[in-house]
Structures are given as C-alpha cells and as structure tokens.
C-alpha cells in the first residue's frame, strides 16, 4: 500500500522537490527556501466547490498570486482574501492578544451562510484556545449548508516563529513557503480538540501526512427539515 501511495505521489510530481520515504520530510523551517509536499485534501476541497456556480471562497492566508489565479481563473471562484496572520501579528505587536477572540468573532463582514468554501490553512495553530474557538465559530457561521472548510494542523511541536504560505502547485501538491511570524505555533491541536472547535461542522476527511501536517476537511451539514 505504501508503495502504491508513493508511486501515485511520484506520478503527480512535476519535478519539484518533495518529501519521500528515502528522504524523510523535514518540517518547513525559516531557513528552507521552499519545499513541495503532496496534499490529499485539496482536490476534495476543490471538488466540493465545483458543484456550485461562481462559488465564493474565503482565503484566510496571506495573498498568493498563483492561488488567486488558480481559484479565480481556472475554477471560476470569487475569492475573498482575509489575511488572519496579519491580524495576529498586529495584536502581538500591540500587546492586545486578549482582545483577539472578540476581534475575530466580529472580523468578517460577509453575510452568514453565504460562503461556499474556506481555506483556513494552519492559522488555528497560531491562536490561543479562546481565539481559535472564536475564529472557528465565525467561520462555521459563514459557511453555506454543504459548504466546505480546509484546515491544516501541525502534529509536530515547533517554537520557530514562522508562518507558512501554501502555494498550490496542482490539486495534489502544495509548496510550503515560510516567512517570519510574530509568534510561533501555540501547540499541536489533538484531533478531538479540532473537532470540538468546529462542533457545528462535520469532519468528512482527515489525512495525516508525512509532512507532519494533518489535513482536515469539514462540511456544514444541511439543515434537517
């Protein structure tokens, strides 16, 4: 099975450097220029958007030009970029982290129930529990019924103060590009913690990747009549 997985992974490669069994995946660090890793959740996330016309997508990471092109030009999404990392940095710099939960709870101006997909990336790793809960609750409310959220969660402890830009190479490959952050990841969230954060959503897929990242897909259940 492992061999099969590796073969498929290699099959999707486009010549960029990626983690393999022979070369254990290193956690992305500040000194790393960038590395490419397989993703299993992304194509499922994309597939969930493709059932909708002109889906509205919320990207919580820093703006990545090629991702904008990918989602906008190739998939016909309306994309809203809301860089939460910048909000975290600003609160750290101003010493107002205790206000972050309230800020995040009111951060989004979209009408609840109007967003088709959320790219949450790994931002919850950088938040304290109350702020993470506030963000998760706000995102859950924004999603349409059947809307989908993609979250990445590191399973490795790291005190390195770097964020990661996730650059989409293709539907099965992400390039991790690190850049300086004002604070390191706060802790590794356990599976149960993550599920509790998104209690209004349902976990549809969870992949533990060799890059020490857990990729999770959530879906908002349709209301029962």
């Amino acid at each position: 099975m492992a061999e099969t997985t590796r073969s498929l992974t290699e099959l999707f490669g486009f010549g960029s450097r990626r983690a393999t069994d022979a070369e254990p995946a290193a956690e992305p660090v500040a000194s790393a220029v960038e590395s490419s890793y397989p993703t299993k959740a992304l194509h499922k996330f994309i597939a969930s958007l493709q059932g909708n016309d002109n889906p509205l997508l919320l990207d919580l990471g820093p703006v990545v030009g090629s991702n904008v092109t990918f989602f906008g030009e190739q998939l016909g999404c309306r994309l809203r970029v809301e860089d939460i990392a910048k909000d975290i940095d600003r609160h750290v710099k101003d010493g107002t982290l205790e206000q972050l939960p309230e800020f995040l709870a009111r951060r989004f101006t979209q009408i609840p129930g109007t967003v088709d997909g959320v790219l949450c990336w790994d931002l919850l790793d950088y938040l304290d529990r109350p702020a993470a809960q506030a963000l998760a609750t706000a995102l859950s409310a924004l999603l349409k019924p059947e809307g989908c959220l993609l979250g990445l969660f590191s399973t490795a402890e790291s005190r390195e103060a770097v964020y990661t830009k996730y650059v989409i190479v293709d539907e099965s490959t992400l390039r991790y590009r690190t850049y300086p952050a004002s604070r390191p990841r706060q802790r590794s969230l356990l599976n149960g913690d993550i599920i509790k954060l998104f209690k209004d959503l349902r976990v549809t897929d969870s992949f533990l990747m060799k890059s020490k990242v857990r990729e999770m897909l959530f879906r908002k259940p349709a209301p029962r009549n």
Binding site: M1, A2, T5, T9, P38, K40, H43, K44, I46, A47, S48, Q50, G51, N54, V63, V64, G65, V68, T69, G72, E73, Q74, L75, G76, R78, L79, R80, V81, E82, D83, E146, C148, E171, N191, R202, V203, T204, D205, S206, F207, L208, M209, K210, L217, R219, P221, A222
Partner: protein, 178 residues
Amino acid sequence: MWKRDESVKPAAPPASSPAAAPSALAASTPAASEPRVHLGRDMVNIGKSVVIKGELSGSEDLTIEGHVEGRIDLKDNVLTIGPNGKIKAEVFAKSVVVLGEVTGNVTASEKVDIRDNGSVDGDIASPRVAIAEGAHFRGSVDMQRAGTKPSQSQSQPQQKPASQGQPPSQPQGQKVGV
C-alpha cells in the same frame, strides 16, 4: 526607453487629456509645471506632487505618481499607478498595473497586475489578475467567468459532495499515508 517627443505635443492641454478633461475635477497642483508629460504615444504621466480630487477620465494610457481621490475612468486604456502613486478611488480601466497604493475597488476589462510592493485594498473585478510575491492585497477577486465552467481537465471533480457518500476507495475518516 521612451523618448520624450517634444515636437508632437506641447504641454498645452488637448481636449482628450485626462488631466485636463475630467468632468468634475478639483485639482490642486503644488507644482504646476510638473503634472503632465506627453510622450511619443498616447500616454500621460501625472507627477508625484499632483493631487487630484474628483473624476478623472480620458482616452490615453495614464501613469499616476501623485494622489488621486474620487473616480478614475479609462475604460479603453492602461492605467499605471506608479511606485509613488496613492489612489483612493473607484478605478475603471482596460488594464491596471499597480506599483503604488490603491484604496478602492478596481475594475478592469482585461487585467489587473499588482506588482511587488504594490498594494490594493479593495475588490477587484477582472478576467485576469496577477499578484506578485511581496504585493499587498486585501479584498475580493471576481474574475467574472459568467457562463464558463471550469475545464474538466483541470481536475477530476467529484461531483458528489462527501455528505452524499464517498466512493468505496475513499472511505471517510482518518487516513494515514503520503
């Protein structure tokens, strides 16, 4: 690269000059001698000491290094916001290149290009959008592909959402690998 062609157009304002033709223009020009430089082709430059409040429209390519507040309408031409340019306006153009700062919505019929160190705080509507590494953008992007479906070759869409069942080879729940 572009040689100034002084023989073609003096600084006298032609009727079509965006800097001169705006319908509701309240321009303040601290350095009146600098605002416009006509080049060999239809291209106008608004210097960095120029401040314009109101509506700016025209039919020539325009480069703005100064400050503009209000509305910019260059529907058939290229608008370039230079590195010193600061725009607080609704922008409509054929193509928009941003090297400076724009606050406001940007609509382009062809392309919006935010270069390194360029900044846009507002919504973009354009069929093509390029955002360079190091650019700042906050807002939404609508590439207006009305009636166009993403090509099937781009992906293998799983039309059924996960809630309606997964293919047998993709069981739900945790998977370890890759």
